[in-house]
């Protein structure tokens, strides 16, 4: 299911990519039930850059996992491009992740035995309409270091490889969980620039989880979660370029 790429930030009038309604997630840990999400309502629009803010335990990762098809809600409705993710089985979710979602993790999660280029290629080999792995690396500014192994790359470089890997399949949505969490601010900004560029050039709907308030300034919309609920939705009238961020 390839989506039409729309350049530039989308307004509220744009297509709804994700429709989240009344989502509740309860984890049972032994005899204790933990309510991670308590009735979340949220729509995500095509080409939007959204930052999910929240303290630890606010439920932002749980929401991201549900959006990414890694987890299913206990109650409520999650629709991706009109399809119900809540009722999908493991196989359907795997295919959903494979063809529609790009992930960027806090700790990069690259395959240590593959070079930068190969780490990207492993995803493009199974994708439906991938870009060339080289092009993906060029996009994040790592074309020169494509033959290096993860152990030979800095943390920021590894994270950019991870971004290249996530976008190379040309996903409809890019989900990033604390992408700068393990990086210093200078390197973190380079990574955010890469995300910004992907969002701008490919029009990929991007969700970034962070507890870093500064990063929120580069988003179209900022959603703050507190205690498993949407506490605040804020629209930035102007987006701050990543190079102007500092923390």
């Amino acid at each position: 299911m390839a989506s039409t790429r729309v350049a530039g930030p989308a307004g509220e009038a744009g297509d709804v990519v994700f429709h989240v309604h009344g989502v509740t997630k309860i984890y049972r840990m032994g005899e204790v039930s933990v309510r991670a999400l308590r009735g979340v309502d949220l729509d995500l629009y095509r080409g939007e850059f959204m930052v999910l803010l929240g303290a630890s335990g606010s439920g932002k990762s749980t929401l991201l996992n549900i959006l990414g098809g890694l987890d299913t809600p206990t109650e409520g409705e999650v629709r991706y491009a009109g399809r119900d993710l809540g009722g999908a089985d493991e196989r359907e979710l795997t295919l959903y992740r494979r063809h529609h979602v790009g992930f960027v993790f806090q700790f990069y999660n690259l395959i240590p035995s593959l070079t930068a280029l190969e780490n990207v290629a492993i995803v493009t080999e199974i994708a439906a309409e991938p870009m060339k792995p080289e092009a993906a690396l060029d996009l994040v500014g790592l074309g020169e270091r494509r033959h290096h192994f993860p152990a030979q790359l800095s943390g920021g470089e590894q994270q950019r490889v991870a971004i290249a890997r996530a976008i190379a399949k040309q996903p409809a949505v890019l989900l990033c969980d604390e992408p700068t969490g393990a990086l210093d601010s200078k390197t973190g900004i380079m990574v955010l620039e890469a995300l910004d560029r992907v969002n701008a050039e490919l029009g990929t709907t991007t969700v970034v989880i962070t507890h870093n308030v500064d990063i929120a300034r580069m988003a179209n919309r900022v959603v703050r979660l507190t205690d498993g609920r949407v506490a605040e939705v804020h629209r930035n009238e102007t987006r701050t370029p990543p190079s102007d961020l500092h923390w």
């Binding site: 990762s61 996992n65 990414g68 890694l70 987890d71 493991e90 196989r91 795997t94 295919l95 959903y96 992740r97 494979r98 063809h99 979602v101 992930f103 993790f105 806090q106 700790f107 999660n109 690259l110 395959i111 240590p112 035995s113 593959l114 190969e118 290629a121 492993i122 995803v123 080999e125 199974i126 192994f149 993860p150 152990a151 890997r165 969980d177 393990a182």
Partner: protein, 773 residues
């Protein structure tokens, strides 16, 4: 960890079981034999002759070193048992009445001893009696020196002299067609005109006396009485077979446990290394708190010892079970009055110590590395693994590889030692399994060559005394006899240089079709008018090559000594013989056309009638029906082959499973993060499974052909070690042997893979996103 520990314990158990099985069955057999020999006065020297007055035995008793002399009358007779049409022959041995004998004393299993004055009573060897269901009180007919006698069975007995009972010229026992019987001296001596005389001697030496000098004296003394050469206990047939078997047990006891313990050491090393990798920070913390290296090493050693001891306990139980099984099989081949299963405490202690040592050796390296790290360094996570393009890629073939294939190959190359050991482990498993089946195919080949190509007669008829060749005419004239050939056979001592060997020279009819000599390429050899052909094995013993002169001392008649050239070598898997043309041998012996017996080819439809006729021919001492003997042998062997195949398969499978399952578990543990990441990226469980199983899959696929080589080597080693004068094991491995071993390895891989598959489903994708390795 539980299953992994179990898999390692299983391999340890395999080694301990093999060790205990081989050594305990060795001990059991050895101690049983020694005790039996001692309690029943097994003789040290034996001598056969034509006829000597009893006074000669008295003179021998006075020879230096001689303790006791038992002179006897022995004969080969043909036996007629009601309801059994095939030819049966028996070795008839004289026995004092109401006695178990002087030397080689009998063990009376059932019934009673021979009564005084009862000339028609016989004791039967237990196995012979059992094969025919002959109980005390039953009767049978024997043709003793041409006279048919009705004999009454009075008991079943066993003798240390006949622990392995085979007919002359046979290699395998066939209790339905050959047995040992004992009867009173008087009627037997009368029948053979040996009153006041004897034709066989058993001699017990004084403690410390050596048999060689006595044998030389005996040969001199007995020559004029038709002595056919004295032999020491070491050359006594029953004793020799048993000794060879004992040697084989020892070989098995050394080789196989070694394989198992090495594999166990490797597995423990891999598992403990991984465990230490996971507990690196805890170890550092302990070190920081002031725990010494020794204390930490001790902690892991205790864990390893728990696994090793669990495996050992299992192995001891399995070893005892297998040892008893082997001992039971021995009892089907060997005639022992009892077989006490002996498990020496020393064997158990040694097994456990060796297993522990292997376990410790495997762990030590890993523990050392962990305890050596300075605590501060150890508390940080281990540096990321370094990879590089594999050989395949450096050769420019990288384009052919998918990314998952690269992951698999680089993983293998990054830990070359571990991969190599894993590969070797799989190869060992495959090789060990080939041994079980190898025995069967080797035996098939021995029989096919020996009886299919070389000895092709249906019946082997042995005369009581050599007879003129014209006697063959009456045999050939029997209805149903298609072809008859004579043969001449005399005991000889062959020498070349300072090496000598006692055997028989067989004279073969010119252009014989029933006894064909075949060369090492299995092509028939034409025996020339002059010169000798001998078994290749015998030529090796004498260090003689074709063209060299061979010295032949005939041990019968006028004991002529000649020198003849060796003209060829023949491939035989059984026995060590020398062959001449029959007419040439007749000339050497200074006799006319004389034969020792006949080879017959018969029409199977007439077999019963021919057998019935032959039984009543006085000059015939025995008839051996070749095919029946082979069938009987296979029947006896079936159980043991099945048992060995089962053991080899169990052990091989336990190694294969131990190696594959453990390696997979370790790989899963080490790479769960990577695999979970791939799952998040949209790889299916199957695709991730391929990456995980791929590494072991490659090692397994490489391990199988390597295992074929290992198995071939192991079988070659066994065949080499098991080669004796009595028989040689041909190194034949049919496709079935390879296929079966490969199949079991693959099944072990698949079973391990299925068990891991289950774990793959439980990979926690969410957790890897949040955790740093």
């Amino acid at each position: 960890m539980r299953l992994q520990a179990a898999a390692i314990a299983l391999v340890v158990a395999g080694g301990v079981a093999m060790f205990i099985m081989s050594l305990s069955s060795f001990d059991s057999l050895y101690q049983t034999r020694e005790r039996y020999y001692r309690d029943h006065g097994f003789a040290d020297v034996f001598a056969g002759l034509k006829r000597a007055p009893v006074a000669v035995a008295d003179r021998i008793r006075d020879l230096p070193g001689v303790d006791r002399v038992d002179h006897r009358v022995v004969a080969y007779v043909s036996v007629d048992i009601e309801g059994f049409d095939e030819p049966v022959s028996a070795h008839l041995v004289s026995l004092p009445v109401d006695s178990t004998g002087d030397l080689n004393r009998l063990y009376l299993r059932r019934g009673r001893l021979l009564a005084p004055g009862a000339d028609d009573e016989v004791l039967l060897s237990q196995e012979f009696a059992a094969a025919h269901g002959l109980d005390p009180g039953d009767t049978l007919n024997a043709t003793i020196n041409g006279r048919r006698e009705k004999l009454t069975v009075v008991g079943h007995a066993l003798s240390p002299e006949y622990i392995y009972q085979i007919a002359p010229g046979a290699v395998f026992p066939d209790y339905r067609r050959y047995g040992v019987m004992w009867m009173a001296r008087k009627p037997l001596a009368t029948a053979y005109d040996l009153d006041g005389a004897f034709n066989h001697l058993a001699i017990q030496l004084m403690r410390g006396a050596r048999p060689e000098a006595l044998i030389e004296r005996l040969d001199e003394m007995l020559g004029r009485y038709g002595g056919s050469g004295a032999i020491a206990r070491a050359d006594q047939l029953s004793h020799r077979f048993l000794t060879e078997d004992l040697k084989q047990q020892r070989t098995i006891a050394t080789v196989f446990p070694l394989i198992f313990f090495s594999v166990a050491a490797f597995l423990l090393n891999v598992v403990v290394s991984r465990m230490i990798g996971l507990e690196r920070e805890q170890i550092a913390a302990l070190r920081a708190f002031g725990y010494g290296r020794l204390a930490i090493g001790w902690h892991y050693s205790v864990l390893v010892q728990v696994i090793v001891l669990t495996g050992s306990a299992l192995g001891i139980a399995a070893g005892v079970w297998m040892g008893k099984g082997i001992s039971r099989i021995f009892q089907s081949f060997y005639s022992f009055p009892y077989l006490h299963y002996v498990l020496e405490p020393g064997v158990v202690v040694a097994a456990v110590l060796i297993a522990s040592a292997a376990g410790l050796a495997g762990t030590l390296y890993a523990v050392q590395g962990a305890a050596r790290l300075p605590p501060a360094q150890a508390m940080r996570p281990a540096p990321p693994a370094r990879y590089r393009p594999t050989l395949v890629e450096r050769l420019g073939l990288g384009r052919l590889l998918s990314q998952p294939a690269r992951i698999v190959l680089r993983q293998i190359e990054r830990r070359p030692l571990r991969s190599a050991l894993g590969l070797l482990g799989i190869a060992m498993a495959c090789g060990v399994m080939m041994i079980g089946d190898f025995q069967e195919s080797a035996i098939d080949r021995m029989i096919a060559v020996q009886y299919g190509l070389s000895q092709r007669e249906d019946l082997l008829v042995t005369y009581v005394d050599p007879a003129p060749a014209r006697s063959l005419h009456s045999l050939a004239a029997l209805p149903g006899v298609l072809h008859a050939e004579g043969f001449r056979q005399v005991p000889v001592k062959l020498s070349h240089g300072h090496r000598s060997y006692r055997t028989a020279v067989q004279g073969i009819a010119p252009a014989s079709t029933l006894l064909r000599l075949i060369d090492t390429d299995l092509q028939p050899i034409e025996l020339p008018g002059e010169g000798v052909v001998m078994t290749d094995w015998l030529a090796g013993l004498l260090r003689i090559s074709p063209g060299d002169l061979l010295r032949i001392e005939v041990l019968e008649l006028d004991r002529p000594v000649i020198e003849v050239p060796l003209v060829g070598l023949s491939r035989q898997y059984m026995g060590v013989n020398a062959y001449m043309r029959q007419d040439a041998l007749n000339r050497v012996l200074g006799e006319g056309r004389v034969v020792s017996g006949a080879l017959l080819r018969i029409d199977a439809d007439h077999a019963n009638a021919i057998n019935a006729t032959l039984k009543d021919v006085p000059r015939i001492a025995g008839v051996v029906e070749r095919q029946a003997a082979i069938r009987a042998f296979y029947d006896t062997l079936a159980e043991s082959v099945l048992f060995f195949t089962m053991i080899a398969t169990l052990l091989g499978a336990s190694i294969a499973f131990g190696v594959v399952y453990n390696s997979l578990r370790i790989a899963l543990s080490e790479r769960s993060r990577e695999l979970a990441s791939l799952r998040v990226l949209g790889f299916t469980r199957g695709e991730v499974g391929q990456i995980l199983l791929g590494e072991l899959g490659v090692l397994t696929l490489l391990g199988i052909p390597l295992g074929f080589a290992v198995g071939f080597g192991l079988c070659a080693f066994l065949a080499f070690r098991f080669n004796t004068d009595l028989y040689r094991i041909p190194l034949v491995l049919g496709p079935g042997v390879y296929a079966f071993a490969a199949l079991v390895v693959l099944v072990s891989f698949i079973v391990s893979g299925l068990m891991i598959w289950h774990s793959l489903g439980r990979l926690d994708m969410v957790a890897v996103l949040k955790s740093k390795e």
